[in-house]
């Protein structure tokens, strides 16, 4: 093997990498927020007794979960302009990612609500709490505790998945690998460095989420 690895020349691109990290984090947070809003609506619709609500909601969840994100992204970015909807790459990325997250969010939220036992709600009501009080003091805490681990790992999955939007030209972290590659012709070094940057982000967020879980749910706050 006579290839000289030159990782040091990548140090020149710190500003680009930092900018990429920030955009990746913005995309991930926006996706999480919009995805959960969509997911909440879909979870409620899917559990509704009305077929007009539940059938479309289930259709949405199944369609999204059984097709690749990349194809969903291409439909939004390349497909919608032929219907007259022209989106910037950034906007198309947020829309496609949020629609994708909505389906997974709906499944996570549904599981969370189902995890709170019926008897807990009945116990709350029999203690004289109103329905709203029961939801706030009994259901919400338990449901949040139940879905928290799934939401935390979903956030990391989204962060890793956002790199596909580099293919439509969004200048997030993964796109910076192609940029550095185009300037230095150091493909292997550039992609290795960027891929390992994701590992650092993943480990940092996992640690942060475990700390939050411990602080909020394990070390029960005195009331």
């Amino acid at each position: 093997m006579n290839y000289n690895f030159r990782f040091e020349i990548l140090l020149r691109y710190q500003a680009e990498i930092l900018q990429g990290v920030l955009l990746t984090l913005q995309l991930s947070v926006l996706t999480m927020v919009f995805g959960l809003v969509i997911g909440l609506g879909v979870a409620i619709a899917a559990g509704s007794p009305s077929k007009w609500l539940s059938v479309p909601a289930r259709f949405y969840v199944e369609t999204i979960r059984n097709t690749p994100l990349l194809v969903q992204l291409f439909i939004v970015f390349f497909g919608l302009p032929s219907l007259g909807v022209r989106l910037s790459a950034d906007l198309a990325a947020v829309i496609a990612l949020s629609i994708n997250m909505g389906a997974y969010g709906a499944e996570i939220l549904r599981a969370g609500f189902e995890s709170v036992r019926r008897s807990q709600i009945e116990a709350g009501r029999s203690l004289g709490l109103t329905a709203a009080q029961t939801f706030r003091h009994v259901v919400l805490f338990q449901a949040t505790k139940a879905i928290y681990p799934a939401l935390a790992s979903q956030f990391v999955l989204i962060m890793l998945a956002t790199c596909v939007v580099s293919s439509i030209g969004v200048t997030e972290l993964f796109h910076q690998a192609a940029f550095i590659d185009s300037r230095t012709y150091r493909s292997f070094e550039a992609y290795t460095l960027i891929t390992l940057s994701y590992l650092i982000l993943t480990l940092a967020f996992r640690a942060l989420f475990s700390f939050i879980y411990w602080a909020v749910f394990v070390r029960r706050p005195a009331r």
Binding site: R65, P68, V71, F74, F78, A161, C163, F174, Y191, Y198
Partner: protein
């Protein structure tokens, strides 16, 4: 020269879908074999082996598959192995799948109660007999549904190989879309083909889960 999106293009997409399925099958086999090794390393009573498996799983599950694909695509030639997109895709997806299979199967093995091992030992069975006649049959019941469920992820993730130029279903869609300028129709057909494959697997996974969990 722009032409219409016609029936022949749908046939082309369906033929390209064979490569999507072939890639997923190769990754299933390669990843399955390596995944067995990972699961074994993860449960043997020897700490360094456990750490090695945990390191592997974190490295693969903590980085984007797209990054892994590019590293193999550009990295293997550096150590003197000339690869085409197919080889890089097959290797990288196998390594990716192994991390997930390893975890699924470890969970399945550990779901069998330690008392089952003890019961086997008290009946005078050897370690091998306990593993093959007592533990594995029970672990397999637990493992089947999530394994089939992961195949859905695998099929969907083969779409990323389009970005290193491997001509499977998604890349074929890009090519047809470029030739016909009908991206919406092309990508909708592509999505339908993925849906048919993945939805059948999802349903199979759900049926298996119901069927295999009834007796527990």
């Amino acid at each position: 020269m722009i032409r219409e999106f016609a029936g022949a293009d749908v046939v082309y997409l369906l033929l390209a879908a064979r490569w999507t399925v072939a890639l997923a099958l190769v990754a299933m086999l390669g990843g399955g074999l390596l995944g067995l090794v990972i699961a074994a390393l993860r449960i043997v009573p020897f700490k360094p082996a456990n750490w090695l498996a945990i390191l592997y799983i974190n490295l693969i599950q903590g980085t984007p598959l797209l990054g892994q694909l590019f590293i193999f695509f550009f990295g293997l030639p550096l150590i003197g192995i000339q690869v085409d997109a197919w080889t890089a895709a097959a290797i990288s997806l196998s390594i990716y799948a192994a991390a997930f299979f390893g975890e699924i199967w470890r969970g399945a093995l550990q779901s069998v109660s330690i008392r089952q091992w003890e019961a086997g030992a008290s009946l005078g069975l050897t370690y091998g007999q306990r593993l093959f006649y007592v533990v594995l049959p029970q672990a397999l019941r637990v493992a089947v549904a999530p394994t089939v469920g992961f195949l859905v992820q695998l099929i969907k993730n083969t779409s990323l190989t389009a970005l290193i130029g491997f001509v499977e279903l998604t890349r074929a869609g890009q090519i047809i879309s470029g030739a016909t300028f009908a991206p919406l129709r092309v990508y909708l057909v592509v999505a339908v083909v993925y849906f048919v494959i993945c939805f059948s697997l999802s349903q199979m996974s759900r049926r298996l889960e119901r069927k295999l969990h009834v007796a527990r």
